[in-house]
Amino acid sequence: MEGQGIRGENVMIRVTRKIEFSAAHFYHNPNFSAQENRRVFGKCNNPHGHGHNYVLEVTVAGVPDPETGMVLDLKELKDILQREVGERMDHRHLNYEVPELAGQIPTCENIAQVIWRLLEPKIAKGKLDRVRLWESPDLYADCTAESGGEGA
């Protein structure tokens, strides 16, 4: 069992690393009429777009390596976040410049899922536990693996 005993080598620890990126977006569904787009998306529908300072918190769960005492090297995680998310999304327009979001409304919920799918295969040590994406200090989306769903 994971988490047995606090001195054992099998305690499960969650490690969280944060990065920030700034990006533009707007919400528009081409299948909706202009009025429907305005009604559903409100001012987020403004075709000129607007932007946010996104804060991304990525949590990896794992058993600390007995040699290093670390679940994973945080510097490596930082590099992965920078490569997979920072370089793709920072100072970009999410509607036009991120192919993974093509055809989707770039909401917090959808961006968090895209980030999960980008990161999940790159985490070599430990297991991706949670992607939390803050769009503003008052709004965030969490993405986790559905319990009971197939594992990684």
Binding site: T107, Q113, D138, D142, T144, E146
Partner: protein, 148 residues
Amino acid sequence: MSQDLKVSLTRRYRFAASHRLHRPNFSEDENQRIYGKCSNPYGHGHNYSLEVTVSGAVDPATGMVANLGDLDPFVEHEVVEAFDHKYLNEEVSEFRQEVPTAENICREIYRRLKRFPPAHLERVRLQETSNNSFEFDGEIGGQHQRRP
């Protein structure tokens, strides 16, 4: 290879309210012993910060678990308008019988928000001060532990 993902959305709201922790069926001494300065007769107040978490399927047409255009007015009406700048003990009828501790406020907020039609209420988290926060996810059960 594609994993099933669970997505939730958390939104923060704020309200300021006053309360007093005091039970008429306790003696003055008992009230002082249990509630301390929170029992002072004229009440006191907090800037509450409320985090509401909803979960569910992401609607492919909108990319959303819940539209803030629906969630915001619902929470504003059910909680913020009812609690903001109020004396909870007197002006929120549920707290005429119940002590408005943050635990009870949390539970009452959950009860009010549970009826939000478009998504599943996952939890509410109420921050009373920067040092104290309280969460309720609807879980019933567990034994109340009385201090020896």
